[in-house]
């Protein structure tokens, strides 16, 4: 399990492994629990590090597929050192056709990233609180569970939530999805937002 200090240590070694293996530098965009911890939004632990996108040389977001072999090898070597699960670093959020990067990330997300450079071979970009609200809302509808807790803990404003809802509805245009959104908003005490969407 990662807290902020362990995450830092692990990513530091990941850079070292990329460097030793003479891998191409990578620029990761990270969402999920790791981003919440690293940006100080929430104090908790997480099992893994979710990569939602890469940044290319021009600073443009691209889906993290295919998963580079260099990165997989370095992640595997890092896992061995810290006794982590094999998939501790993964592209689960954007792995396939219905992935977040494939369907479209919140507008302007790349302008709000929090960057940490771990040497010449690894740059890590954590998504901002506003984008966390977007993604957590979507995950809360899609999967519920701790995503609902995380969303509530972020204490979004009504404006932020409305923005997130409008984005989420571009990923799922069905009426059933809208109903689920309204129901969640009501439960979380955002009844007025629920009325507007």
């Amino acid at each position: 399990m990662f807290n902020d200090m362990k995450l830092d240590e692990v990513l530091g070694l990941l850079e070292g492994r990329l460097r030793r293996n003479r891998a191409k530098p990578v620029r990761l965009v990270i969402c999920g629990g790791a981003a919440l911890i690293a940006t100080g939004l929430l104090v908790r632990t997480t099992r893994d590090v979710d990569v939602v996108a890469f940044l290319d040389c021009a600073g443009q977001l691209i889906p993290p597929v295919p998963w580079p072999e260099d990165l997989a090898q370095a992640a595997s070597e890092t896992a061995a050192h810290f006794d982590l699960p094999g998939d501790w670093l993964n592209n689960r959020p954007s792995r396939g056709e219905g992935g977040l990067a494939q369907l479209g990330l919140p507008e302007g997300i790349e302008t709000r990233l929090h960057r940490i450079r771990y040497g010449a071979h690894l740059e890590v970009n954590y998504i901002d609180r506003l984008d966390q609200i977007h993604l957590k809302l979507y995950a809360a509808i899609d999967r519920g569970g701790y995503h609902v807790n995380d969303l509530a803990a972020l204490a979004p404003t009504e404006e932020e939530l409305e923005q997130a809802v409008r984005w989420a509805c571009t990923h799922d245009v069905s009426q059933a999805f809208r109903e689920s959104v309204r129901a969640l908003l009501e439960r979380l005490g955002y009844g007025t937002v629920a009325q507007r969407v």
Binding site: G12, L13, R19, E77, T78, A80, H81
Partner: protein, 339 residues
């Protein structure tokens, strides 16, 4: 134990140097305390190892050349090539130079074939190394044979003190078998059967670095002598000596020959030696250094876990960083010394 890589390498260097001197002295090199070992030395694995790690000791290296000039006819060059390639020993170009030197002395055509097996090193580099791994400078003229293979060293001046191997010593068993049976797979087969109750061709081939067909065909021939018998064991045939007469004649009534797979052990020691030099030179941060050590030792540990001859030994944990290296060095010392 000290937790620095340089401290480890200092001690491990001494351990390897001692091992090399004890080994070659046991085979007949003059001027050093003869070692005692748990089993017979594998001359090809030892030569492969010395062509790499032996570069740390110019005197030892030249004593090896002297020994080869006297006893080289009992070396199995084909097996040497197999051992070098199968276990990825690094000293190929050095071995080519050694072979070229032996061929130049008129010592058997087989060395000439080996002399071209590995390309010359470019740019040329010093053959020998100082204690701190820097190249040993060559101030006078260079030996032309080694120079052609990319290695700079002083001209070779043999002391001529090496003796024929001591045939009565258990450590020289393989050489003794070669003197008796000729340089061929028969010797390795006999050695394997002297150290195991019974065996099938596949296991013998794998452990002795021969092709399975060679071992299979040779076992069939040996069985025709009546001194070896075989029994069917599933789809394989298990071979053993018919009785104790031949083993006792070869190794004595009360002797117990022990099996030790020298290529596995020495190839691992070579990897540890050279890779720790590379890691030390890279001056890595502690976590990365520990990670490199783990990557070095993990495959070695997996190999050792499969080795029956190490089953009673405590193995190191690759994730222990420099402590794991000390663990490897202790294991090496323990295995290479007489119990």
């Amino acid at each position: 134990m000290e937790q620095s890589l340089s401290a480890f390498r200092r001690v491990f260097r001494e351990s390897l140097a001692q091992f090399l001197w004890r080994s070659w002295s046991a085979l007949g090199v003059a001027g050093h305390e003869r070692g005692t070992f748990r089993g017979a030395l594998d001359p090809e694995a030892l030569l492969a190892f010395t062509c790499s790690v032996g570069r740390m000791d110019a005197r030892l290296f030249d004593e090896m050349l002297d020994w080869l000039a006297v006893n080289g006819r009992f070396m199995n060059v084909q097996r040497l090539r197999n051992v070098m390639r199968s276990f990825q020993f690094r000293g190929g170009p050095v071995l080519s130079a050694v072979a070229a030197w032996l061929a130049g002395k008129g010592k058997n055509l087989k060395w000439k074939q080996l002399a071209d097996s590995w390309p010359a090193v470019t740019p040329p580099e010093s053959l020998f190394l100082l204690e701190d791994d820097r190249p040993l400078p060559v101030v006078s003229e260079c030996d032309p044979v080694f120079q052609r293979h990319g290695f700079l060293r002083n001209p070779i001046a043999r002391r001529g003190l090496s003796l024929p191997f001591r045939s009565s010593e258990p450590v020289c068993l393989i050489l003794r078998l070669r003197a008796l049976f000729g340089v061929s797979a028969r010797c390795e087969i006999m050695h394997y059967l002297l150290t195991h109750p019974a065996a099938h061709a596949h296991a013998i081939a794998r452990e002795t670095c021969y092709f399975q067909k060679t071992i299979h065909d040779t076992l069939n021939e040996l069985a025709c002598s009546g001194l070896l018998v075989s029994v069917r064991n599933g789809r394989q045939r298990l071979y053993r000596f018919r009785d104790n007469a031949l083993p006792e004649a070869l190794i004595g009534r009360n002797e117990q020959a022990e099996w030790l797979h020298w290529p596995t052990l020495l190839a691992a020691a070579e990897r540890v030696w050279w890779t720790t030099a590379e890691i030390a030179a890279a001056e890595l941060e502690p976590a990365l250094e520990a990670s490199e050590i783990a990557l070095l030792l993990e495959p070695i540990r997996r190999q050792f876990l499969e080795a029956d001859w190490l089953s009673q030994k405590r193995l190191f944990d690759p994730r222990d960083g420099i402590s794991a290296l000390w663990g490897f060095a202790s294991l090496f010392d323990e295995v290479t010394r007489q119990d």
